[in-house]
């Protein structure tokens, strides 16, 4: 499932991961490391909302 940052609208797509921050494609949102924050606005993970 994709998640959206409620602060800026960035979408975390597990199919793509977040290569810039060394998050491999296929990593579900739930498995992101605790320290991972929105790559655009630095909002923490609890600011994300499920998208689909």
């Amino acid at each position: 499932m994709r998640y959206i940052c409620t602060c800026c609208g960035y979408i975390y797509d597990p199919e793509k991961g977040d290569p810039l921050n060394e998050i491999a494609a296929g990593t579900p949102f739930e498995d992101l490391p605790d320290a991972w924050v929105c790559p655009l606005c630095y909002a923490e993970q609890d600011s994300f909302d499920p998208l689909d």
């Binding site: 409620t6 609208g9 979408i11 977040d18 605790d34 320290a35 924050v37 630095y42």
Partner: protein
């Protein structure tokens, strides 16, 4: 003639002209969770309230029981008896098996009450003591049909026990027959237990027989046992039908939840028949018992009975709670008028409204209620209190209320964070002194003294405000203030408060992430356990830095239509809406998050609530001309020098210093511009604003207690300001020769799918707001009405500034 019973205020006949006498059962920790919680919290006023509530719903006698593990009945019972006696018009039933407690209570009770109860379980020792007390103090007594071998099940056993007790009480202890209430007990016919299927019949028969043989005594029954084990909605119907049958059989008094007795007329003939089949065990066969029929029947008809619970028969106390939780203001004043006939206004606030708001806060905390709905609840609260105010004695409350001073600090015009805190605290029953924005420390000190506040709360938008807070801590200390100080605002962090603010002030200094954290802190203050914020154990490590990035400085310098600054005013406000980040607006600013909703529920929330709201507000902002988008922007020759950018404007040199990332990829904004003595590059800047009108509307909405719309309009304005920046950045890209491809949308803007970048001063790539000084000197935004405060904040608040880099590698990053 003296009645059978009497309270301080009136006589009460055990045998009512229209039976039964209703005895309220809720003031009992074993039967009512609410009462138990109040008792455990030593909230004796709350306990009394439970009695008063039942009285208001028709109970003529209140049963009072306080025996509960861990409580001291010997001190609780007399204390509550005294309280109940002073306030209740209804009679009192002292529900205890401890003769000492009973005696202590009888001594205090000014009227004639009932003792609940005696039986022969222990062979008669207790009965002996209690009957003597009853005679000495002139009380009536409830007798249960229980002996050494247990509770009597059959009509014959019940009647036999009545005979034994009657004989003892009347012949041996000299009580009058009319002072006795016999309870022949009943057992559930709702459990499917085959030994109990005739329990209703046995009880009804016993009542008939008791009344036939001893016409002077009264009969009593705890009716609701009959349906134990069934659904609450079904129980209510069976209990009411059974009560009716029992009264027909001669029942004088019933222990019930008075609110749950339904008039027979409200029960359909069909419903009633199914219940009667069960009570009288009619048409039983192995495969088809009356209980099975009843359960099947009500599983189909559940809807109706629940409907009924929703409407009509809900007591006003429950209805007001629901209205608050739902944020529903329909018929609010009517409902409050009804409640005013039952309680003083202040009681309504403290006993009904404040607990409901507490529930709202808890729901929000658990993610079950979204912020916009919390604000709607607060609106209902505000309206209720406003309505009740004229019925309250002046200042009745203010003496014991906790008082809080709220202010936005010096140099800061940010209003809404502090105002949301005001809304939440005020509507949880606190006294808030909201002294506004841009308040210097001296004024805060003076006002804190003047209003004798218990707690100070400070708010601010930008980092400079956080620094002001830090710097003023020693000032509060020196002034001799001792009340706790709560700090909040977007630019604050827990560790900044712990490390930089806490040391400057002796009393607690507490970081509050949101308004509810503020509420929690106030509660902790009241409980005496508020402590200063301490640094979080582990500072979260940010995303891992990528590899060091080489910036290619061989890029072409775009050509632009003009050099220097320009002002733009003819912008169609409607255009901004197509640059709006709707997701950030709806989920972020407005708080309509999906949270625990399913995809479908969320889609419904959007289409039924959010989309119409958006359409309504958009229309209003356009119709009332509340947006005045204005821009001042420019292109300037520049070159970089190490971490700085040197900009030429009006043949003057302006210098912007940028920080560099300490870790790889070691980015610094200056790197995106050509460097060296003779280098020539181009930089863009802008300041945009949507003007002042919207702020006037938000201020008005706040003043008029339209909290929900206040947050919504503010949120929309904020995002429109960002949209204007987005729009103007796009214009500048086009002017520099790289227009967006067709079909560019919201998501592409979010992820910067365009050439170059814009960096807002104060945002993570260039956190220092000092840059506003050279920027304002170059662009002179005063011409579009934007100025700087002493802490470099822009006024109007809905303004934003940025530096525009055209370098293809330029993207967002954080220092």
């Amino acid at each position: 003639m003296i009645g059978d019973l009497a309270s301080l205020y009136q006589a009460i006949e055990l045998k009512q002209e229209i039976p039964p006498l209703l005895i309220g059962e809720r003031a009992n920790p074993n039967g009512s969770r609410k009462f138990r919680d109040l008792l455990l919290a030593d909230d004796f006023d709350g306990c009394l309230q439970v009695g008063l509530e039942q009285e208001s719903r028709g109970a003529q006698v209140i049963d009072l029981c306080v025996a509960y593990a861990g409580r001291d009945e010997k001190s609780d019972l007399p204390r509550l008896v005294e309280k109940f006696a002073g306030s209740l018009k209804a009679g009192l039933m002292i529900d205890s098996t401890d003769p000492d407690c009973i005696e202590a209570s009888l001594k205090l009770y000014p009227g004639r009450c009932v003792i609940n109860s005696i039986n022969l379980e222990d062979g008669g020792a207790n009965l002996d003591r209690i009957c003597r007390l009853a005679r000495r103090y002139g009380a009536a007594v409830v007798a249960l049909t229980i002996d050494e071998s247990g509770m009597a099940m059959t009509a014959a056993d019940k009647v036999e026990l009545v005979e034994r007790i009657y004989h003892l009480a009347v012949d041996q202890y000299g009580l009058r027959p009319q002072d006795l209430l016999f309870d022949p007990l009943t057992f559930t016919i709702g459990s499917g237990d085959t030994t109990l299927f005739d329990a209703g019949i046995q009880t009804l028969e016993a009542i008939r027989e008791i009344k036939r043989r001893w016409p002077d005594v009264a009969t009593l029954l705890g009716v609701s046992n009959i349906s134990f084990g069934l659904q609450p909605a079904v129980r209510k119907i069976i209990n009411s039908v059974f009560l009716h049958e029992a009264v027909e059989a001669g029942l004088d008094a019933a222990i019930v939840d008075a609110a749950k007795v339904m008039p027979l007329a409200q029960i359909s003939a069909e419903d009633r028949n199914v219940c009667l089949d069960l009570i009288y065990d009619r048409e039983r066969s192995e495969e088809d018992t009356p209980l099975m029929r009843l359960m099947a029947y009500f599983s189909d008809h559940q809807g109706e009975s629940e409907e009924e619970a929703e409407h009509g028969s809900v007591p006003a106390e429950e209805e007001i709670r629901r209205k608050l939780v739902r944020g529903d203001r329909d018929g609010l004043e009517d409902l409050l008028t009804i409640l005013l006939q039952r309680y003083p206004a202040l009681e309504i606030v403290n006993r009904l409204l404040v607990p409901a708001m507490r529930e709202v806060g808890d729901l929000f905390g658990r993610g079950e209620l979204l912020l916009p709905f919390v604000l709607q609840s607060a609106e209902v609260m505000k309206r209720s209190v406003a309505f009740l105010e004229e019925f309250m004695e002046q200042d009745a409350e203010s003496g014991k209320q906790t008082r809080i001073l709220l202010a936005t600090v010096q140099g800061d015009v940010h209003d809404i964070g502090k105002n949301l805190v005001d809304i939440i605290l005020t509507n949880n029953g606190y006294k808030v002194y909201n002294i506004g924005i841009k308040v210097p420390a001296e004024t805060i000190i003076a006002k804190a003294r003047e209003h004798e506040v218990d707690v100070i709360g400070l708010s601010g938008l930008l980092v400079k405000s956080a620094i002001i807070m830090q710097q003023s801590m020693p000032q509060y200390q020196e002034a001799g203030l001792t009340m706790p100080i709560l700090l909040g605002g977007a630019a604050l962090t827990r560790s900044f408060v712990a490390e930089s603010c806490v040391p400057g002030y002796t009393s607690p200094v507490v970081y509050c992430a949101d308004a509810f954290a503020g509420l929690k802190a106030i509660r902790e203050y009241e409980q005496g356990c508020l402590a200063s914020t301490r640094t979080a154990a582990a500072v979260p490590v940010r995303n891992r830095p990528g590899p060091k990035e080489a910036i290619d400085s061989s890029h072409d310098v775009p050509s632009v239509p003009f050099w220097g600054r320009r002002v733009v005013r003819d912008i169609d406000p409607e255009q901004l809406f197509s640059y709006l980040n709707r997701q950030a607006l709806i989920r972020g600013r407005w708080g309509y998050r999906r949270a625990k909703l399913s995809k479908e529920e969320y889609a419904r929330l959007l289409s039924e609530t959010v989309d119409p709201l958006y359409a309504r507000l958009k229309q209003r902002l356009l119709d009332e001309h509340l947006l005045q988008p204005q821009v001042v922007y420019g292109y300037f020759p520049c070159r970089s020098e190490a971490d700085s950018l040197l900009v030429n404007a009006d043949s003057e040199l302006f210098r912007f210093d940028f920080p560099r990332q300490v870790l790889a990829p070691n980015l610094c904004i200056a790197d995106y511009f050509k460097g060296g003595e003779s280098a020539q590059d181009l930089v863009g800047f802008f300041v945009v604003t949507i003007g002042e009108q919207l702020a006037e509307l938000t201020a008005e909405l706040f003043r008029d207690d339209q909290y929900h719309d206040y947050l919504m309009v503010h949120g929309l304005g904020v995002e429109l300001t960002d949209a204007l920046a987005e729009y103007w950045h796009q214009q500048m890209r086009a002017e520099m020769g790289f227009p967006d491809p067709q079909g560019q949308g919201e998501l592409e803007y979010v992820t910067q799918e365009y050439r170059g970048s814009r960096y807002g001063f104060g945002y993570p790539a260039c956190p220092d707001l000092e840059a506003h000084r050279p920027l304002f000197a170059m662009l002179r935004p005063e011409e579009i009405g934007v100025s700087l405060t002493e802490t470099l904040e822009m006024v109007p608040e809905m303004s934003t500034s940025a530096i525009v880099a055209h370098h293809p590698q330029a993207k967002y990053f954080a220092i």
